[in-house]
């Protein structure tokens, strides 16, 4: 699979955490990354209108910050999970809209590369569960053949704060392609085929995968600087990014050295006594 994401995205797959903050929180320039409202309309993911915070009276003004940080926290959780084959990136316009792509490496949908968008309700985490919509409706019992929306709610009938996290939704989206479930399908045709004529189902899946992959290099559906877009391998563009990804892996040690300059410790590991290091190598 020679496809490559824009360098933005590549970085993300390597160390998305870095990306996360600078990109989303350009505080240096004293600006607050935008929040849902504007972005949401694009696909009208959630009809929930007014932000909850306004109800809070005195401290309403901080509501957006809480929301923003809740979403950032979710994003860091996603990164921590290191979900295989799944990459996401919050959009530039709104932290409530995330772009993603999933690589299927085995099974019926092998070699599938499906782009999707996650829409998070703006009363998160107290609202319903986020929506996950594939750019191109994949042929799958649980994917709406028209809108491309994945039936997520069956897995999260009630979205519970502290228990449910967005990474679980992403995980679910991945699982769906490995364990086919045909109950209450959004795409009855697929469900029926899977039950009655697996061969035909398989060939349809193959077609669907091909279709999706053939649109891989299309412009992103949503115009956003952080939208995930693929382009053919171009050494001029990608070589350097690749290089950076690999050097980054090696960096931790250097990183460590640098950091030693500022912190101090003479505590022997396993001890809680100050200056318990035996040889006290202060010149570390």
């Amino acid at each position: 699979l020679a496809s490559s994401q824009r360098s933005d995205n590549e970085e993300q797959s390597g160390h998305g955490e870095q990306r996360a903050s600078p990109a989303r929180m350009p505080f240096g320039r004293k600006q607050l990354p935008p929040i849902p409202k504007n972005a949401a309309p694009i696909t009208k993911p959630s009809p929930l209108g007014t932000p909850i915070q306004s109800a809070n009276g005195t401290h309403a003004s901080y509501g957006p910050f809480y929301l923003e940080y809740s979403l950032l926290a979710e994003f860091t959780l996603v990164i921590k999970q290191k979900l295989p084959g799944i990459y996401v990136q919050p959009s530039h316009k709104s932290a409530l809209m995330w772009f993603g792509v999933i690589f299927i490496r085995h099974g019926l949908y092998q070699d599938g590369v499906f782009k999707f968008t996650v829409y998070i309700p703006d009363n998160y985490p107290d609202g319903e569960c986020p929506k996950l919509v594939f750019d191109i409706p994949v042929f799958h019992p649980l994917v709406d053949p028209v809108s491309g929306e994945l039936d997520v709610r069956r897995a999260f009938t009630k979205w519970r704060r502290n228990h449910n996290h967005i990474w679980q939704v992403l995980m679910y989206a991945r699982t769906v392609f490995y364990k086919i479930n045909t109950t209450d399908p959004l795409n009855p045709e697929a469900a029926v085929l899977y039950e009655k004529d697996v061969q035909l189902f398989k060939s349809k899946v193959v077609d669907s995968v091909k279709l999706c992959n053939s649109h891989l290099f299309d412009q992103p559906k949503i115009d956003d600087p952080y939208a995930i877009s693929f382009s053919p391998w171009n050494p001029a563009v990608h070589e350097e990014a690749k290089e950076r990804m690999f050097t980054y892996k090696r960096r931790p040690e250097d990183h460590h050295k640098v950091s030693q300059a500022s912190g101090l410790s003479w505590v022997k590991p396993g001890s809680t006594q100050p200056f318990s290091k035996e040889d006290n190598p202060p010149q570390s």
Binding site: M25, S61, P64, S70, A73, P125, L264, D279
Partner: protein, 998 residues
């Protein structure tokens, strides 16, 4: 003076003249000159010729020669003839290039063969060897060494006379000669550094001379602490040798074993320190640490810092042997014998001054080994049986400048990101996790995914400061914040229409598209930004720490109180041999007392803190028994009691009962009398150290004076006794009130009673309050009550503020110390450490603290909150964590302050107006504050950030407000502090483990 002429000539560019001349000609000229010189030399050589006699008849033209030469004066014309020849010869030598393949050039070869230099040196001896003569010779060599084009020093015939010259200069005192000597030495060191192979020669040559090995080094030592250029050059030169030593065992060994380098350096510090002013003139109340502008005005301090910096540099580059030796000399030759007593002087100003010096030193030292020395002094050294750290912590509660300066010192300390420091100050008390409910331990590592803590913290924003509810003036202020986006204050005036903001912002591209209904606090963005930076750098720094302190590592079970102490003994001993000597001391103090002799547990606990000044058998016995190892684990009960007292005091505010106080006092006096009989000396000394805090308490009058920092030492003495009283009160009161003689149970009973008391007080208590009063507040209450209830004037006045803390705090402060010392029973009681409790108690008094105290205080707490260790983070920021009922959390204290503010706001009509005025005042002052803060230190960046926004818009002229309205300023600051903390909490929630994984 031949050399000087030569030197000058050369600098004028004579070398250029020589350039074109061919080497052979030069050689011929050189030889000719030399022949002439030799003639004169031999003529006057007493050993060789009788021709010296004739010269006797010659008129002596050398003015200074009288009586100088044994063999008769040398005629002036001959002397100057030699001088001229030599001048030229030196030029030729200097300009000569080395021969093929590095061989000597012909002239050099000739010089070596003929032993020219030595003969010239002898000639100068032959004449009167005056300072002038030395100067000449020194300059000659300086020029040769510095400018020769081929290596000269490899050749003994050149090196030997040089060494002879140097050793003959060793006893010189003439400044000019010294300067030249040091310059030459400096140059020699440069050559050495470039070409270490010469080193051997230097050693050997001096052996020949019978002089000290490595003469050039020994000659430099006396100049180590010299001020001005000479000192600087000497230190530079020594540093070169130091870095040489890192690679050359022989040099290192020589310096460490055969020279007084390290002792001279260290004792020099002591000497220089003793010439520092013992009392600083404090420019204003705001002053809290020595900034560069301050010490640049103090030559003696500059000199000290130069030497300290030099030590720092030596430690950085020198061989480990030298480094270790120097460090231990500094510890044992400066810190312990000089700085420790200085920290315990008898007057407030002196102690304050020493504290400020210590803070400055800590900020000046960069080399880890040296920092470690200072820190182990602070953390582990005991003066009069009390850890320096404990004393310093207790002083945070001191009114007057000392309290502020102490705060500044701790700001520096916690800004070092030093695990050892944080361990001693805070973490060791949190490791056992006793401060929280058992079920909560898992929460320690949890992250606040939905900013719940931030929301809770921000919800404490006093209603009078809430942007939404505030009356027009306040809004205007907020609008000023927005105006940064390009709006004019006027626009923002109509805050009602928040839409305009967001829309405008959208237009500019930096939109905050947050929903049109929302009034956005832009300043909060800056707090977030700062929080992120601060946490990031903290995380990075803490990567070198030994453990994550996440409630699992170190394992809480393993470090339950009592266990924690054990390792202490060994670890406390500094690695250095010298330090070891002291160890026994501390140990003995703790351990020599027979165990098992404690009749009064309660007393012990509290008294233990006293062990600082107290030699009472009882106490010691307790201490020893309980704490086998001197290092206390997290101590608990005192704090706990303290908290209760405070709470009780708050609740009972105004209900202070004099009788009780009086009774208590009587008890105290009794107690003291008994103690005094035990050991008078001890008490006086230790008290001295602690006096600062307590002393104000003793007399209210002194307090007022205290502002000026001029408390007469006699007063101090009195105070010291008072301080004792105060402390004693704390302890005795409990007993008295409880009337319980039984030891062990007392503690529990007491606590139980307190709890009850507090509860009942809440609803207004009847008989119980009395007890409570007696115990809790007796010292404090009177003043405080007055303060609170008096009109604003009083409230604002410093005296009001100071007395209270002093009385309250001194006991507390002391008690806190004990905790660290106390062991047994305490173990079971949750306690988060004296440092935290002192900070929190000062924070609780925020409304009466001066603005500057509050700035420091909030800065310190914010810095603490930025530490990534889950134990600390959860303790300070997690508002959902359930603590033991006796543990006070930051959030609780903030809530208390908020309530105080609400009460205040409700009772004063013009409060909001005053707040606006205070905000404007703060804005106006931001720019200057930023400057000072930059030079000063780490904290406060948040305020700077905020300030930057504020500063852009010209503040409307508000009504004037006096700085003495501390409650008003505190309210403003409190509100900002909430934002700061909330921002930190939020950033933690998205940062905490990411960087850890990297």
């Amino acid at each position: 003076m031949m050399a000087s002429v030569v030197a000058n000539g050369n600098r004028d560019g004579q070398s250029l003249v020589l350039k074109g001349v061919d080497p052979e000609t030069c050689m011929i000229v050189f030889k000719n000159h030399w022949a002439q010189v030799v003639k004169i030399l031999e003529k006057h050589d007493p050993l060789r010729s009788s021709s010296a006699l004739p010269s006797l008849s010659v008129i002596n033209l050398t003015a200074s020669s009288s009586g100088s030469s044994r063999f008769g004066p040398i005629p002036g014309d001959e002397a100057s003839a030699v001088q001229n020849y030599v001048e030229h010869m030196l030029f030729l030598l200097m300009e000569e290039e080395s021969g093929q393949a590095g061989a000597m050039g012909p002239i050099l070869e000739f010089v070596v063969m003929e032993n020219v230099m030595e003969r010239l040196f002898v000639w100068s001896l032959r004449r009167e060897f005056t300072d002038d003569m030395k100067l000449e010779q020194l300059k000659m060599y300086e020029m040769l060494v510095g400018q020769a084009r081929q290596p000269l020093l490899h050749h003994k015939p050149i090196l030997r006379p040089l060494m002879m010259l140097l050793s003959s200069c060793s006893s010189t005192t003439a400044p000019a000669v010294e300067a030249e000597l040091v310059l030459l030495l400096n140059q020699l060191c440069y050559v050495l550094a470039k070409d270490p192979s010469i080193l051997e020669l230097f050693f050997h040559t001096s052996e020949d001379q019978g002089a000290t090995n490595f003469l050039i080094f020994s000659l430099l030592i006396p100049f180590i602490h010299r001020e001005g250029t000479v000192g600087q050059q000497a230190r530079d030169a020594l540093l070169l040798i130091m870095s040489l030593s890192a690679e050359n065992e022989r040099v290192a060994k020589h310096i460490a074993e055969n020279t007084f380098f390290c002792p001279v350096l260290a004792t020099g510090l002591s000497g220089l320190y003793s010439s520092l002013p013992t009392k600083l003139e404090v420019p204003n109340e705001e002053w809290h640490c020595l900034h560069k502008e301050d010490w640049l005005q103090m030559p003696s301090l500059i000199q000290f810092l130069n030497s300290l910096e030099f030590c720092n540099a030596v430690i950085q580059v020198a061989h480990p042997d030298i480094r270790d030796q120097l460090v231990s000399y500094i510890y044992n030759g400066f810190l312990v014998p000089v700085l420790a007593p200085a920290l315990h002087k008898l007057t407030l100003e002196e102690v304050m001054t020493t504290t400020a010096y210590l803070d400055l030193f800590l900020r000046s030292v960069t080399e880890p080994a040296l920092l470690q020395t200072f820190l182990s002094f602070i953390l582990l050294h005991r003066h009069e049986n009390v850890h320096i750290l404990d004393t310093l912590v207790s002083r945070i509660n001191t009114p007057f400048q000392l309290g502020i300066v102490s705060l500044a010192l701790f700001r520096t300390l916690i800004g070092l990101y030093c695990e050892d420091v944080m361990l001693q100050l805070v973490l060791r008390y949190l490791i056992p996790c006793n401060h929280m409910m058992l079920s909560q331990r898992r929460v320690v590592r949890e992250r606040d995914c939905y900013s719940a803590s931030a929301a809770k913290i921000l919800a404490l924003t006093p209603s009078c400061c809430s942007p939404d509810r505030s009356p027009p003036p306040l809004r205007q202020l907020d609008s000023i914040l927005f105006s940064k986006g390009g709006e004019t204050p006027d626009n923002s005036g109509n805050t009602e229409e928040k839409k305009s903001f967001s829309e405008e912002n959208d237009g500019s591209g930096n939109s905050c598209t947050i929903g049109s209904e929302i009034y956005l606090d832009v300043s909060y963005l800056h707090y977030l930004y700062d929080a992120r930076l601060s946490i990031n750098s903290c995380i990075r720094a803490c990567q070198v720490w030994s453990a994550p302190y996440d409630g699992e590592d170190p394992p809480p079970e393993k470090y339950q109180p009592g266990v924690l102490e054990e390792p202490g003994l060994t670890s406390r001993q500094p690695q250095m041999a010298l330090k070891k000597a002291q160890r026994p001391f501390a140990l003995q103090a703790g351990s020599c007392v027979p165990p098992g002799t404690d009749p009064l547990p309660v007393n012990q606990l509290e008294l233990e803190w006293d062990d600082s000044y107290d030699a009472c058998p009882v106490q010691t016995a307790d201490a020893s028994a309980e704490r086998g190892p001197p290092q206390p684990p997290p101590a608990e009960p005192p704090k706990h009691i303290q908290e209760m007292r405070r709470t009780a005091r708050m609740l009972v505010k105004g209900s202070y009962i004099e009788e009780n106080d009086f009774q208590d006092d009587v008890m105290v006096y009794d107690l003291i009398a008994k103690k005094d009989s035990g050991d008078v000396e001890r008490t006086s000394k230790p008290s001295g150290s602690q006096t600062e805090e307590t002393k104000p308490g003793s007399a209210e009058v002194p307090l007022k004076n205290g502002l000026n920092l001029t408390v007469p030492s006699p007063a101090m003495v009195d105070n010291s006794s008072n301080s004792l009283d105060a402390k004693a009160n704390g302890q005795t009161d409990c007993n008295a009130n409880l009337q319980n003689t039984t030891a062990v149970e007392l503690g529990d009973d007491l606590l139980a009673q307190y709890e009850e008391l507090i509860r009942t007080l809440d609803h207004e208590a009847g008989g119980k309050p009395v007890k409570a009063d007696g115990e809790v507040k007796k010292p404090i209450t009177p003043v405080e009550v007055v303060v609170v209830e008096e009109d604003e004037m009083d409230f604002a006045s410093f005296s009001a503020e100071t007395p209270e803390p002093e009385k309250l705090h001194s006991p507390f402060g002391t008690i806190n110390r004990f905790r660290s010392g106390s062991a047994t029973k305490n173990n079971s009681l949750p306690f988060t450490g004296p440092f935290i409790s002192v900070l929190l108690s000062r924070l609780e008094n925020m409304l009466s603290n001066s603005l500057h105290v509050n700035l420091l205080l909030t800065g310190i707490l914010a810095q603490l909150a930025a530490y990534p260790q889950p134990l600390l983070r959860s303790f300070l920021l997690n508002t959902n964590l359930v603590f033991q009922p006796t543990v006070r959390s930051l959030y609780q204290v903030l809530a208390i302050v908020k309530n105080q503010i609400e009460e205040l706001a409700a009772s004063k009509k013009d409060f909001t107006e005053l707040i606006t005025a205070a905000q404007h005042w703060l804005m106006a002052r931001e720019p200057s504050f930023i400057e000072t803060d930059k030079s000063g230190g780490s904290s406060g960046s948040n305020h700077q950030e905020g300030g930057r926004i504020l500063k852009n818009s010209p503040p409307p002229k508000p009504k004037a407000i006096s700085l003495e309205r501390t409650e008003v300023f505190a309210t403003v600051l409190f509100t900002e502090f909430l934002k700061e903390l909330a921002a930190i909490a939020q950033e933690h929630s998205i940062l905490s483990y990411i960087p850890m994984e990297e």
